[in-house]
């Protein structure tokens, strides 16, 4: 159980700091010194722990799925090299969910009933999580999602669904407001796609901006099928200090190019979410205009000068070059802002299973309870994105958020918002629900 959060002067909620989970680091150092065959022999069962990986192998999430797989495979290689989980090797059992909620629910059934997986893991797209989570509850299958959707913390899911390895969009957006108003300017114009994704930004940012002493002077919603944007730019008020944009889809390069043509050399400050350009090379044509603008990043894409060794080790393990692209093809840019969540979640599953003394699928409930009992997760090899605090009641982790500036076609981190400043009041207590 987490401890009761306390109010802070900012009005946000801050937890009481707890020590790191001892099990996180326990045993790994000792195990790593043993030969592979010896590492697993102390376990009661040498059968592998099976982690059902619901992969977006096809459908609109496929590019994410590919990088989620690479990251997960790298994480398991590390975990196995360090002795596995409770002395047992760990393996991924991959099923394609087609980025489709109906198939994702079927995939969970296969994990539980056919392939005898211990847990399910890895779903990214929100509509897939929302469609599949109820089935996880029925199957009593621990379901570790890496989605960054607010659906977990909002209380719409269940006791068996957890998001301990990636922060949610609500905390991300609200954490940006102080920087926007404090550094870039008080008057903010939002440009967002006219559907649920855009509304999340609209509804979460505006109150946070006002709380930080700023003002949203215009909200420009753009139809999802729009491919030319010139007619919308005149709607931007002249006194705008900052443009906050979250355009996505195939027209995003066009959007940036046309915005650059509209403003010319004199433009307001511009702030965006990297989701718009995840896996896109920032030196692409049309993006020159982004030079000097700012982005939220879930995890820095470019290797920063002051990156600690564990960050370098994580990037090397996944196969990233300094620009966050594949070491085998510099044009193959990763989904850096999201995929670290797979690495961290797998380490949390390991920590949870070890804390619970997990032996078999009969211990699934113990595993969920052990993860719910987690709180602080210190930055390190298991948590390269940074120090986090897990809220067992809401099943959601809170972590650092990065604000980066485009300089010379690369993203340089200019501010790191610590997890404490990203926390909002609990909206649910899953621990009060029955299993």
């Amino acid at each position: 159980m987490t401890e009761t959060p306390s109010k802070t002067k900012t009005g946000l909620i801050s937890p009481t700091r707890r020590g790191a989970l001892k099990t996180l680091a326990a045993g790994t150092a000792a195990a790593a010194t043993m030969p592979l065959w010896a590492r697993y022999t102390s376990a009661q069962s040498a059968a592998p722990i099976k982690i059902g990986f619901g992969k977006h192998a096809t459908g609109i999430g496929a590019a994410y799925g590919r990088w989620y797989e690479r990251t997960s495979v790298a994480a398991l290689a590390k975990i196995n090299a360090e002795g596995g989980i409770n002395g047992r090797p760990v393996e991924l059992v991959t099923e394609d969910d087609g980025t489709d909620p109906r198939r994702a629910a079927e995939v969970l059934e296969k994990f539980a009933n056919q392939s005898d997986c211990d847990v399910a893991f890895g779903t990214l797209f929100s509509h897939v999580v929302v469609g599949a989570a109820p089935r996880a509850g029925e199957l009593k299958l621990p379901y570790f999602v890496v989605s960054e959707g607010h659906h977990v913390a909002s209380g719409m899911l269940n006791r068996w669904t957890l998001q301990p390895g990636i922060t949610d969009v609500k905390s991300q957006i609200s954490a940006m407001a102080p920087f926007l108003t404090g550094t870039l300017g008080k008057k903010v114009t939002m440009i967002y796609p006219d559907y649920a994704f855009g509304y999340d930004h609209r509804d979460n940012l505006a109150p946070a901006i006002e709380a930080a002493g700023g003002e949203v002077v215009a909200k420009i919603a753009i139809p999802p099928t729009e491919t030319s944007f010139t007619k919308y730019f005149p709607q931007i008020p002249r006194d705008t200090d900052v443009i906050y944009h979250v355009m996505i889809g195939p027209a995003v390069l066009t959007f940036v190019k046309e915005m650059g043509e509209f403003f010319g050399p004199s433009r307001p400050e511009i702030f965006g979410f990297i989701d718009s350009l995840e896996a896109t090379d920032l030196t692409s044509p049309g993006l020159e205009f982004l030079e000097g603008t700012y982005f939220w990043e879930g995890n820095p894409r470019y290797l920063q000068a002051d990156a600690p060794d564990y960050v370098k080790a994580y990037r090397d393990a996944v196969g990233l070059d300094e620009n966050g692209a594949s070491v085998s093809d510099p044009s193959d840019v990763s989904t850096s802002a999201h995929m670290f969540g797979c690495w961290e979640t797998l380490h949390i599953i390991k920590a949870g299973m070890e804390a619970a003394g997990y032996q078999s699928t009969a211990d699934r409930q113990k595993l969920v309870e052990a993860v719910e009992a987690m709180s602080m997760m210190e930055a390190g090899p298991a948590h390269p994105q940074g120090t986090k605090m897990f809220n067992g009641k809401t099943h959601q982790v809170f972590g650092p958020q990065y604000i980066s500036k485009v300089e010379g076609g690369k993203l340089s981190v200019v501010k790191t918002v610590p997890y404490e400043e990203t926390i909002y009041p609990d909206e649910v207590d899953y621990t009060s629900m029955s299993f």
Partner: protein, 453 residues
């Protein structure tokens, strides 16, 4: 709360449950001057219409003559290669049922959707009838005979190619409507079902079933007739692509309709990913919710695409006959249908080129894995650079334009045979030529459109 952020709307859906849709490509395509490219492409096809009407009649008549290159030895060993292919497919099916369920690593979806559907079908139109060597069904069709089982029923001539059309439609439904066509275990059962159905057809009607009732083999054979180098009358002959279709008698009505269906389904396969189509069916292209959400619209689409194309094509034919005050609609309808095949083939090439660039890497990895070699890291980086996206797009557009140019030439040559004179042929072809020019526009528009599924 809906998951946010993806800019690769582009290629998803290119293959059934397309693998690796990284449509930064789509974003780069929107930055290309595609309007100018499209205008150039359409103008090229229109110019072809003019040129073919202006060249001397004798030359027009000789367009599709072929040259004898050398004597062709008898085909030997096709049954052996077919048996090997069947063994490979059986192994892949077993892998589908028991191997990894990740479609980009399991041999079954890789062999069926990438190896056969994507690459082999593309190879047919250039290299000729590879399927004759690699079809697992050839040996299947021979099995009953090997055991002395004679066909149980007589295939009635009146049935024509309609059974093949039905099985092709079933195949297309898996490709475009089924919610998980690349799922290895489900695909294994579907392959076994199709294979079993083919065996049953051959048991009932003999090997003839492969030619009349099995849609894939028919499609493969039709595309193979577009190849410039063909075997005919004991010799290898070379000619303009399509010469082997031009020399044949007009196809039967059912075969003509099958030919039209190849284009109709190929077109719908492209259309159903566009923002425009998504708008029609009320789907937000930026949060496409998966194939299970579009089963109804896609099923409706593949059922309506055929009749719609047949109707428009038929109207063009009839209008042409009215212009020259001639009859014989049915004969013209049949005789001109083969000219649709190069367009359908070009659509296949253009539509699947980006997918091939990615799937090919997985297929190669599968081969390397089987040989115990280290696998390469699959990349989609070429979708991330303006220069490579431009090359890909222009290659696709070139295929579409060349397909239409060939279609114009083929239909003109067929019209000369139908109507006797160059002038009457040109006049009768005007409406069909207009149809083809507009179809070029449609095809290039498809390539340039933002996609979201």
């Amino acid at each position: 709360m809906v998951r946010r952020a993806w800019i690769w709307a582009g290629l998803a859906g290119l293959l059934p449950g397309r693998v690796l849709a990284h449509a930064s490509e789509g974003a780069f395509v929107l930055l290309l001057p595609t309007d100018a490219y499209i205008a150039g492409g359409v103008a090229s096809v229109a110019l072809t219409v003019l040129l073919i009407a202006l060249i001397p009649e004798a030359r027009a008549r000789r367009l599709f003559l072929s040259w004898r290159l050398s004597a062709a030895t008898r085909r030997r060993g096709q049954m052996v290669t077919s048996a090997l292919s069947a063994a490979l497919l059986l192994w892949a099916v077993s892998q589908g049922l028991t191997g990894t369920q990740d479609p980009v690593h399991n041999p079954l979806p890789l062999l069926v959707w990438s190896g056969m559907w994507l690459f082999l079908l593309a190879g047919q139109g250039v290299l000729g009838d590879l399927w004759g060597w690699l079809s697992p069904f050839r040996v299947t069709a021979a099995l009953p005979g090997l055991f002395g089982v004679r066909p149980l029923l007589r295939y009635r001539p009146g049935w024509g190619y309609w059974p093949a059309l039905a099985s092709y439609l079933a195949f297309a439904a898996v490709l475009m409507v089924h919610i998980a066509p690349t799922d290895p275990d489900r695909l294994a059962w579907m392959v076994l079902g199709y294979w079993g159905g083919t065996l049953l057809g051959c048991l009932l009607f003999g090997p003839r079933w492969l030619l009349r009732g099995e849609g894939l083999t028919l499609l493969m054979r039709l595309f193979a007739r577009l190849a410039p180098l063909r075997r005919q009358g004991g010799a290898w002959r070379l000619g303009l692509p399509g010469w082997d279709l031009e020399r044949r008698a007009a196809p039967r009505l059912s075969l003509a309709v099958f030919m039209l269906l190849t284009l109709a389904l190929g077109s719908f396969d492209g259309l159903n990913e566009t923002f425009r189509w998504m708008g029609w069916i009320g789907m937000n292209p930026l949060e496409f919710t998966g194939r299970s959400a579009v089963v109804g619209p896609n099923l409706t689409g593949i059922l309506l695409a055929g009749p719609l194309l047949v109707a428009v094509y038929g109207l063009s034919i009839q209008a042409g006959l009215v212009l020259i005050d001639a009859g014989g609609f049915r004969q013209s309808f049949r005789a001109l249908a083969p000219a649709i095949l190069p367009i359908a083939y070009a659509y296949h090439l253009a539509h699947y080129l980006p997918a091939a660039l990615v799937e090919g890497q997985y297929l190669l990895n599968m081969v390397r894995h089987s040989l115990g070699l280290p696998e390469g890291t699959v990349t989609t980086g070429f979708f991330n650079r303006q220069a490579s996206v431009r090359v890909i797009w222009l290659s696709q557009a070139t295929a579409v334009v060349l397909g239409h140019v060939l279609a114009i030439l083929m239909s003109h040559a067929a019209a000369i045979r139908l109507h006797g004179s160059h002038r009457r042929a040109s006049l009768s072809q005007a409406p069909l030529a207009l149809f083809m020019i507009l179809y070029t526009l449609f095809g290039l528009w498809l390539l340039a459109s933002p996609r979201g599924a």
